[in-house]
């Protein structure tokens, strides 16, 4: 059914500027390697230095939009998410979490019956969809805040964060200070502990050492003052706007599950924090090697280490591990080609030759063939 005179595709054309054409040609030239001598066969040898970039643009394409500057994330026993000059937010299964500038929160190990987080610096606001079957607990020093379906802020204040302030914008929380009995804190109220508090160990809920004294008063919880005021008595009329709708994340998602780590990696990527993304992916593949996401996480980790972080040995390890986990065929081919390049750049002549020969035998028609062929030459 060929269209009579003009196929429909004739009306469907990209608008490509001369500048784009020039750039494309420049990239093609950059990928072209030296010509082969004399024989005439295969006179143009391609270099695939830009293939990694294309792959990164693709999958990681996935990965694309840089919305917020430079937060920092580190994975220890748990996952620490931090903001710098700009606020940032992320989501867990049951909560949306907003970090004010220069704040830090550690997502502790998830349990089926509870999720714990520790505010270790600055002010963090929580919009929690209460699940009676799963506690949502935020700690800050010796203060433990147990959500009862609410929007609340936990802030470390004072010069060294020695004060902990809990402000409830909506709903109720139960606050336990040290070994004291829990007490309710209602909408519009805030609580500030005036005494120094022990620091929470990363990734695990802090054990209170000394119970601080407590003051309670009505509060507006929209922002957290930087003063050391013990009691905030802002009028309730200054309460923040209503909380946003419930977080859309699936309730089944466990933040320390493969899905949760993937979400953390995505959040880090969107924030432009490649180190944090790499750490989340690394944790995913190590903790959940049987998860179907693990091979691709290892592959993406290898790409980030190789192309962005300049960590060749780490990239090699990640790509090899990803292959061992059994990724899809197209990823495996790209991973093996990258391994040849990495071994070459690491001056592992023996390993490079063996990997190169295996690659060429396995993928005789590969788009990487020419560039792989040129590798492992004596320097």
């Amino acid at each position: 059914m060929r269209t009579a005179s003009r196929p429909p595709g004739e009306f469907l054309r990209p608008q490509i500027s001369e500048e784009r054409v020039r750039q494309t040609w420049a990239k093609i030239q950059a990928r072209q390697g030296a010509r082969r001598p004399a024989s005439g066969a295969m006179p143009v040898v391609m270099k695939w230095a830009f293939v990694p970039a294309a792959l990164v643009a693709l999958g990681v394409g996935a990965f694309a939009v840089l919305r917020r500057p430079a937060p920092r994330m580190a994975v220890g026993g748990g996952l620490t998410i931090a903001s710098e000059a700009e606020p940032r937010s992320f989501e867990l299964a049951e909560a949306q979490i907003e970090l004010q500038p220069f704040a830090s929160v550690t997502v502790g190990s998830a349990q089926p019956f509870e999720q714990r987080l520790a505010v270790t610096r600055g002010a963090v606001r929580f919009h929690v969809v209460h699940d009676p079957a799963r506690r949502f607990v935020v700690t800050a020093g010796g203060v433990e805040v147990d959500d009862v379906g609410t929007v609340f802020t936990v802030a470390r204040e004072g010069k060294d964060g020695e004060l902990v302030r809990v402000s409830v914008a909506s709903g109720d929380v139960q606050v336990r200070v040290g070994s004291q009995a829990p007490r309710p804190l209602h909408e519009g109220e805030s609580l500030t502990t005036p005494e120094p508090l022990p620091e929470a160990p990363s990734g695990s809920p802090p054990a209170p050492e000394r119970p601080p004294s407590v003051s309670v008063g009505a509060s507006a919880a929209t922002s957290v003052p930087s003063s050391n005021a013990v009691v905030d008595a802002s009028p309730p009329s200054e309460s923040p706007p209503p909380p946003p709708p419930p977080v859309g994340a699936a309730r089944s998602a466990d933040p320390i599950s493969a899905k949760g780590l993937l979400a953390a990696a995505t959040a880090a990527r969107q924030a432009g924090d490649l180190s944090a993304e790499a750490q989340a992916l690394d944790t995913l593949r190590r903790r959940f090697p049987r998860d179907p996401r693990a091979p691709i996480a290892g592959f993406e980790l290898g790409i980030i280490r190789m192309d962005q972080l300049g960590n060749r040995r780490g990239a090699l390890e990640a790509l090899r591990a990803a292959i061992a986990l059994g990724p899809g065929a197209s990823f495996r081919e790209d991973a093996e080609a990258r391994i040849v390049v990495l071994l070459d750049e690491l001056d592992d002549a023996t390993g490079c030759s063996a990997s190169r020969d295996a690659f060429l035998a396995r993928y005789p028609e590969s788009v990487h063939r020419a560039s792989v062929q040129r590798r492992c030459q004596t320097r």
Binding site: M1, R2, T3, P7, P8, G9, E10, F11, L12, R13, P14, Q15, I16, R20, V21, Q23, T24, W25, K27, I28, R31, Q32, R35, G40, A41, M42, P43, V44, V45, M46, W48, F50, V51, A54, A57, L58, G59, V60, G61, A62, F63, K259, L262, A263, T266, P292, R293, I296, E300, G328, S330, F331, V367, R369, A370
Partner: protein, 193 residues
């Protein structure tokens, strides 16, 4: 008086076969001429197969890189356009598979085609635009092979034989893929109506 003679002796526009011979002989500038001659076709085909502008430049790069690398294996240099078209189809297919895998794994957000923005030519007749919209609405629901076959057939206007050649599949397979796609297209239209 010499200009016309020169023109007669040396045609202004070398054929693709001339250019490919020059490239194989080491004439670097011939590669750019070949690239510029076919870039619009390659980018257009990639755009229509991908259903959008994202990745078009990357696909064009990959296709030309692969084509230039493999020129010596091209039996009929005059068929370069068709040949690089089949490379584009293969590169797009691979890219779409990667996209889908990444989407399934949650590593990539699914992109929906805005069919109205795809039809860029103001001279496009309404019935053709409607046909294009119908095709592009169902693409995301098709398997990769069915998607490629449908675009080559319905949008590029290729015959089944040409579609099979571009996809490097048997005609029987292409017919099956097209039947699958057409069924989805029919269902989509009936839902719309």
């Amino acid at each position: 008086m010499t200009a016309p003679l020169r023109l007669l002796k040396s045609p202004a526009r070398p054929t693709d076969a001339d250019l490919i011979r020059s490239i194989l002989d080491g004439e670097k500038s011939a590669a750019e001429v070949l690239f510029r001659r076919h870039h619009s076709m390659v980018a257009g085909l990639a755009y229509r197969l991908l259903a959008g502008d994202a990745d078009v430049d990357d696909v064009a790069q990959d296709a030309f890189v692969e084509a230039l690398r493999s020129l010596s294996r091209l039996d009929n240099p005059q068929a370069f356009a068709s040949w690089i078209g089949s490379i584009v189809v293969r590169v797009v297919g691979k890219r779409l598979r990667q996209r889908r895998l990444l989407e399934k794994l949650g590593l990539r957000r699914r992109e929906w085609t805005d069919v109205d923005t795809l039809v860029v030519s103001p001279s496009c007749p309404e019935e053709v635009a409607a046909e294009l919209r119908a095709v592009y609405r169902v693409l995301g629901k098709l398997t990769i092979e069915a998607r490629l076959a449908l675009v080559l057939r319905r949008v590029e206007g290729l015959t089944i034989e040409e579609t099979a050649a571009q996809m490097q599949l048997s005609m029987a397979t292409v017919k099956r893929r097209l039947a699958e796609a057409e069924l989805r297209l029919t269902k989509s239209r009936s839902l719309d109506s």
